[in-house]
């Protein structure tokens, strides 16, 4: 930690990220930005029996005040900011719950008793696969924590987050570290590449992906989740057609930690997101 602080102090005087009228990296203070995207895409669901989440209409919001900011699902208050770093208190909804959302019409008629919750054949000696619909419902979590942004240059931003759920859903922590670089291809086109890693504490992994003795009658199905790291890569491309319209395409691949994908309710080792569509800015 001392090393990181020393490094920040060392580089701060030499690096600056001047903000001008640059829509990808900078926001106008005091102005709401709202856009709505219409296109086609999908977020894959790594759970057994988990339906992929279609993406057709994608709304996007952002507001930056002198201190307060809101961008999509993150609400924050910046405690300290200079040209090189920003330190903020933030809150956001943990997106792990999205895979367990049972509001899908197919999920309405679910077995409620614990006697019929396991898909297993008696002859199987290995850990059987379990539909996520047949384990106890997972709750959504509201995370609160801190975020540090390091503006390494005018086109490179490093972001670090540490969060804890305040509504006591999983009673644990998660953290995130990522580095993004914006490439301006020409006057109309921008490409952004992000490389990051998400760490989930043992409590989080166990809450969402663990199988307790209450949820299964087979001892071989019991699964104890452990802390794990999920690395990911994002690639976003935006082409500005005119003042109101943009064509955007986005790809994301997240590799799940073995402590997640070895869970009996998980069938995939990766989560992918792809979307392409037209965004109208109001």
């Amino acid at each position: 930690m001392k090393f990181i602080c020393a490094l920040l102090l060392l580089v701060s005087p030499f690096l600056s990220a001047q903000c001008v009228d640059n829509e990808e990296l900078c926001a106008t203070v005091g102005k709401w930005d709202f856009s709505i995207g219409l296109g086609a895409g999908v977020l894959t669901n790594p759970l057994h029996d988990g339906e992929n989440i279609p993406l057709v209409i994608v709304p996007s919001f952002s507001y930056y005040g002198e201190r307060v900011f809101f961008q999509n699902n993150t609400l924050g208050y910046t405690l300290y900011e200079n040209e090189s770093i920003a330190f903020s208190a933030i809150t956001l909804i943990n997106n792990e719950y999205a895979y367990f959302n049972r509001w899908h019409p197919q999920n309405i008629f679910l077995p409620k008793s614990s006697s019929d919750v396991i898909d297993q054949s008696p002859s199987e000696s290995f850990q059987p696969d379990i539909s996520y619909k047949k384990v106890a419902k997972r709750k959504w979590a509201l995370d609160v924590g801190a975020q540090l942004n390091w503006f390494i240059s005018n086109s490179v931003n490093a972001e670090f987050k540490v969060l804890h759920d305040v509504n006591k859903a999983y009673r644990g922590f998660n953290a995130n570290a990522e580095v993004s670089k914006v490439f301006r291809i020409n006057e109309h086109s921008v490409l952004e590449v992000t490389l990051g890693a998400q760490w989930n504490s043992e409590a989080l992994v166990d809450y969402y992906y663990g199988i307790s003795a209450d949820e299964t009658s087979a001892s071989s199905s019991i699964y104890q989740g452990k802390a794990g790291v999920n690395p990911y890569l994002n690639i976003g491309y935006a082409y500005r057609i005119n003042d109101e319209w943009q064509l955007k395409a986005f790809l994301k691949r997240k590799k799940l930690s073995s402590n997640i994908y070895l869970s009996p309710i998980v069938q995939d080792t990766t989560v992918d997101l792809i979307f392409m569509g037209f965004f109208y800015e109001f």
């Binding site: 009228d21 926001a27 972001e159 976003g236 935006a238």
Partner: protein
């Protein structure tokens, strides 16, 4: 300067005047008016960009010959005058961006002046703390 040079200089001056007189006349032999238009003040200061500015301006124009003209702000007609050479009049205007004042006769625009809007507080910007792609 000898006589030959003096004669040449006189000829050039006379020919130059003749060319100018031809340019200032139309096909009917009428001399085109030379008009100066002035609108003051020419800048309105507002607090924020895009804010509406209400102000009182004085428009004045002078012509070397009596003319029939109308004054417009963008495409809105403000007033017309007949057979005048010198006019000064006050107008109340509202604008949120540059306004173009033009003095026109039936054929063409004779003079143009701009009134601009300047914001005293220009936009402030902050680095975004989440990527635009964080919606996914």
């Amino acid at each position: 300067m000898n006589f030959k040079s003096a004669l040449m200089s006189t000829l050039i001056l006379v020919m130059g005047f003749h060319v100018y007189a031809e340019q200032a006349s139309d096909s009917l032999g009428n001399v085109s008016p030379s008009i100066k238009l002035k609108v003051t003040p020419s800048v309105c200061i507002v607090r924020d960009k895009g804010q509406l500015c209400k102000m009182r301006v004085t428009a004045s124009w002078e012509s070397n010959v009596p003319v029939d003209v109308c004054l417009y702000s963008n495409e809105k007609q403000l007033n017309c005058w007949n057979n005048q050479t010198d006019v000064k009049q006050v107008f109340d205007i509202s604008l949120d961006k540059k306004l173009i004042f033009t003095l026109r006769n039936r054929q063409k625009t004779l003079a143009t002046q701009y009134v601009k809007v300047n914001a005293s507080q220009s936009n402030k910007y902050r680095r975004r703390l989440r990527s635009q792609w964080s919606l996914f």
